[in-house]
């Protein structure tokens, strides 16, 4: 097996070269994320699901904090029998990860015993622990919101002096930075407290369904488990509510294409009572439901609805028009619930024996118990908290930019979190001793160089995997979170052999076949280019994209599985969707005619 794998294997990490001219930018990543000689012995894959674009050096904190927390949950907290944590490397801005499998039977036995004392306790007490989790998460969010504003005044405020505070403002700058980082690392610990257990229980049911009904689609199993009133639907629900309010208050005429959110808000204020009433409703929706970003929480530039209202506002005219046509805007949760119940009952009836039905009942019960966490955690972690975190770092960027460290606040993300702490200490020292900060002559050139490197790396494709192919992939984390199986890898190995194929394959996410014009939307700002009936082609969608689905005829995404946001929303809207194509946005040209077969997971290029 090993020999075959090597014959047809992936390139070794040591054979991957840093793009010439970007060596200094590559060196900016922490030493423990650089590939080393011994990494050639192991299998790695490109985590394009979470990191589809080259990562600037600060944003790598998202990988660092996430894998740190995932590993501790697996290895030390719940003791997953066959796996420890995940190792992470970066080259040319691309994040590669590798699982750490446990293969020694004695070790597995020992870990199994621990697992049943730990994980089983979580399953058995899920509701209580999850309620506790929400409290912890809300407390963490409040802590982050309460972090002080950054200020280095010319003189320490008189009241601090008179109160005898004894600690000057520069100290609080460093303290706030350290608290910001600490909170972010803690958030990821919370994130993984339940996640693998949740996915595992879901996959247990999924696995049963696939064995009992080998041809059942992933989306059907997903529909049996998916919650109806999950947090991920809320932002979109809020928009529908705001559309309805606008009509009821008679202010819906203010929403016209080409008018900016600022202008609309101003015109609402001018309208007086009804306009102000609508703005009040808007404020209620924004906190907390507009705290969703247009990505998946791994890039600083995926801003939230609250940071940029153009996305939610662009959707309002459509919802208003639909409401005026008499369409019911509220999601019909009771009807959806009844449909889910019926689906579960219908498949249950198709099982061959009562014994199987009893096992099915046990498994779906557990899947339903864990799923609210699986669906709901992202809103709190990857969206709400992550927005607060990146915005706080942006504030540090603003302060440093103001003192000449680099031209713009956004440039702060070109520094690693260690470098940023050094720059902050530099600034606090400079503020204290009256000398100019040393960083002013250091950082602008480095920031330019790193930005150029990111732009360069984006032009280069990277190998989907590296190193020897394992005989079996038995790591539940890798299988669950990334859908990596031996079959996938074999497909990747042969993918290069048919470069001319006009077909792109992905996960069958939502049933139906549609032909139409592809609109390749690389960032949320481009959403305005979508015309009614277009096929959306994008890297990833998340809850903030939901409003777009009212206008498109199908969706294709680079990233995501059958439970990804694009898949869930597409099913809600009854649109065909293929997700997890890997390369859709690269291979499909803007304006090209394509066919999307959401039942088979195939996109065909028609011209």
């Amino acid at each position: 097996m090993r020999a075959t794998a090597e014959q047809k294997g992936f390139p070794l990490p040591s054979s991957l070269k840093v793009v010439p001219g970007t060596e200094a930018a590559q060196a900016a990543y922490p030493y423990y994320m650089q590939f080393a000689k011994e990494d050639d012995e192991r299998f790695w894959f490109y985590n394009s699901m979470h990191f589809p674009e080259p990562m600037c050096v600060f944003d790598m904190i998202t990988a660092e904090a996430a894998y740190c927390a995932l590993g501790s949950a697996n290895t030390r907290v719940h003791s997953l029998p066959t796996t420890l944590g995940i190792d992470c490397r970066i080259i040319n801005g691309r994040v590669y990860i590798g699982g750490n499998a446990v293969t020694d039977p004695a070790e597995i036995a020992k870990r199994t015993q621990e697992f049943q004392r730990r994980a089983f306790y979580y399953y058995a007490n899920w509701e209580r622990l999850f309620a506790q989790w929400k409290d912890k998460m809300m407390a963490l969010i409040q802590e982050a919101e309460a972090l002080p504003k950054l200020d280095l005044p010319e003189f320490e405020p008189l009241e601090h002096v008179h109160a005898g505070r004894g600690i000057a403002s520069n100290h609080y700058i460093l303290q706030t930075y350290q608290k910001t980082l600490e909170g972010y690392f803690r958030m990821w610990q919370h994130h993984f407290e339940f996640l693998l257990l949740g996915y595992g229980a879901y996959l247990t049911f999924f696995d049963f369904c696939k064995k009992a009904f080998p041809e059942i689609s992933d989306q059907t199993v997903a529909r049996m488990v998916a919650g109806i009133e999950a947090e991920i639907f809320r932002p979109d629900d809020e928009l529908r509510r705001l559309a309805k309010c606008a009509i009821e208050l008679g202010v819906d005429g203010q929403f016209r294409e080409g008018v900016s959110p600022d202008e609309i808000i101003k015109s609402m204020e001018r309208l007086g009572k009804p306009g102000v009433a609508w703005l009040k409703e808007l404020a209620a929706s924004r906190y907390p439901w507009f705290n969703i970003n247009v990505g998946d929480g791994f890039y600083h530039y995926h801003r939230s609805w609250n940071d940029d209202l153009s996305m939610p506002f662009a959707a309002l005219p459509g919802y208003i028009a639909n409401a005026k046509k008499g369409e019911r805007l509220e999601r019909q949760t009771e009807k959806l619930m009844a449909e889910r119940k019926q689906l579960i009952a219908d498949y249950r009836e198709l099982l061959e024996t009562d014994e199987e039905r009893a096992a099915y009942d046990q498994m779906i019960e557990l899947a339903h118990r864990v799923f609210p966490y699986v669906e709901g955690h992202k809103f709190y972690c990857e969206h709400w908290y992550t927005n607060l975190f990146f915005n706080k770092i942006r504030e540090f960027g603003g302060l440093l930019a103001q003192h000449g460290f680099f031209p713009k606040a956004e440039d702060v993300f070109q520094l690693s979190h260690y470098e940023l702490e050094a720059a902050i200490v530099d600034l606090m020292t400079s503020w204290s001793n009256g000398s100019p900060p040393r960083g002013v002559s250091r950082w602008p050139a480095i920031v330019r160089q790193r930005k150029a490197a990111i732009a360069e790396w984006a032009k280069h494709e990277t190998a989907p995997a590296l190193g020897p192919v394992p005989d079996i992939i038995d790591d539940p984390a890798i299988v669950m979170l990334w859908g990596i199986t031996r079959e996938n890898l074999d497909a990747w190995l042969t993918a290069g052999e048919k470069p001319d194929s006009n077909e792109i394959r992905g996960f069958a996410a939502s049933n139906g076949v549609v032909e139409g014009v592809a609109r390749v939307v690389k960032s949320a700002e481009e959403i305005g280019r979508l015309r009614k009936g277009d096929i959306l082609v994008c890297q990833i969608t998340n809850p903030s994209w939901a409003p777009v689905f009212q206008n498109i005829s199908a969706a294709v995404s680079d990233i995501g599985g059958s439970m990804s946001h694009a898949a869930i929303v597409a099913r809600e809207y009854g649109l065909p969707a293929v997700v997890g194509t890997g390369t859709g946005t690269q291979k499909i040209k803007d304006g090209q005619r394509i066919r999307v077969d959401g039942g088979r997971g195939v996109v065909t290029l028609l011209e």
């Binding site: 029998p81 595992g200 498949y347 061959e352 046990q362």
Partner: protein, 349 residues
């Protein structure tokens, strides 16, 4: 439409009548009575065969001659088979029987219209089915008049005396007195598209899907394997069409002038075009579920869609391959339901 000892109209028969109308005939009657669309027809019951054979036996013994043979006497079996088949195919029907069958044919097809029919043997026992199926032509399509119909009825009967059939019966020592055959006479659909479908996946045994195979023209091109049919898989419950394999259907079977079937090249624009619309796939699935529910077990179904778009079933029989497999349960209930997660976390999946 009066059924009699010799004739059973589809409306009057069901599976319970299998001993006299055979499996195929009983099933068509059963479907008709369950209000599932089936082209009209009747069965020439085994009594008619007995009457016919009885008349022949009076002239010269048939059954004793067969019973006298040993299963290893292949030369003798071959010689007797040739002689008996020729005799059965040539002998006229007893007058009364002849008149009754012609009258039934007229009633089915309309006097002077001679609408085409299919004539198909309908064996009364599994054994007979196994024996008579040994590669023998026992289905006659697009038969356009009463004389031809009666001729093919006799051909079906004669197939009981094929070499493999006789050899089979001799091998197992089956008594000749129990050997009988019914024959189905059914109006034929001038199919635009036809094929087969299974109420479970023939590949995986999955009972949650209906697998449909179809091609242009008459279904014989699909059944005989002369064309690679389009293949569709549709989920019974959600109606999702998960597979749409559209193949190059290079030929199709069409009615031949003067009766029978001819193979013609499929027009270029149809070869690689899907032979079914999504609406038709869904309608076929609905009918398949109805049939399966009626029988209470997975079915293997032949269907056709005529030029007006009407769907008709030509045959339904129990699926046997997967149904007879011993299968261990996918999972058993666990005393502690949490144990199920060890399938995912326990390793060695």
């Amino acid at each position: 439409m009066h059924s009699s000892e010799n004739i059973g109209w589809f409306n009057d028969i069901g599976l319970a009548d299998r001993p006299t109308v055979g499996g195929k005939g009983g099933s068509l009657g059963e479907l008709t009575r369950a209000s599932i669309p089936v082209p009209p027809g009747f069965v020439v019951r085994t009594a008619a065969f007995e009457r016919f054979l009885g008349a022949l036996e009076k002239e010269e013994a048939i059954r004793p001659k067969v019973e006298a043979l040993g299963s290893d006497q292949l030369d003798e079996i071959t010689a007797l088979s040739k002689y008996l088949r020729a005799r059965l195919e040539r002998a006229p029907l007893p007058d009364e029987l002849n008149a009754e069958l012609v009258a039934a044919h007229t009633e089915l097809c309309g006097a002077g219209l001679d609408s085409p029919v299919a004539v198909r043997s309908s064996a009364t026992t599994e054994d007979a089915e196994g024996a008579s199926f040994a590669g023998l032509q026992d289905t006659y399509l697009w038969v356009t008049d009463a004389p031809a119909t009666l001729r093919y009825v006799r051909s079906c009967w004669a197939s009981l005396y094929s070499v493999p059939s006789i050899a089979y019966r001799r091998k197992y020592g089956l008594p000749e007195s129990g050997v009988a055959m019914a024959v189905v006479v059914q109006r034929m659909v001038n199919a635009r598209t036809a094929g087969v479908m299974f109420t479970r996946s023939p590949m995986t045994g999955d009972r949650s899907v209906v697998t449909i195979e179809g091609a242009w023209g008459l279904g014989s091109s699909v059944v005989s394997g002369e064309v690679t049919p389009d293949r569709f898989v549709i989920a019974k419950i959600t109606g999702e069409i998960s597979v749409r394999d559209v193949c190059d259907k290079h030929v199709q079977h069409l009615p031949a002038p003067g009766g029978g079937v001819r193979e013609v090249e499929t027009p270029e624009n149809l070869r690689k075009a899907p032979c079914l619309t999504d609406a038709e796939i869904t309608a076929l699935k609905d009918i398949a579920r109805k049939v399966e529910r009626h029988y209470g077990r997975p079915q293997d179904i032949e269907w056709a869609i005529d030029h007006s778009g009407e769907i008709l079933l030509l045959q339904s029989r129990p699926e046997t391959v997967w149904s007879s497999k011993d299968r261990s349960p996918v999972a058993k209930p666990a005393e502690n339901p949490l144990q199920h997660v060890m399938k995912i976390f326990g390793g060695r999946r």
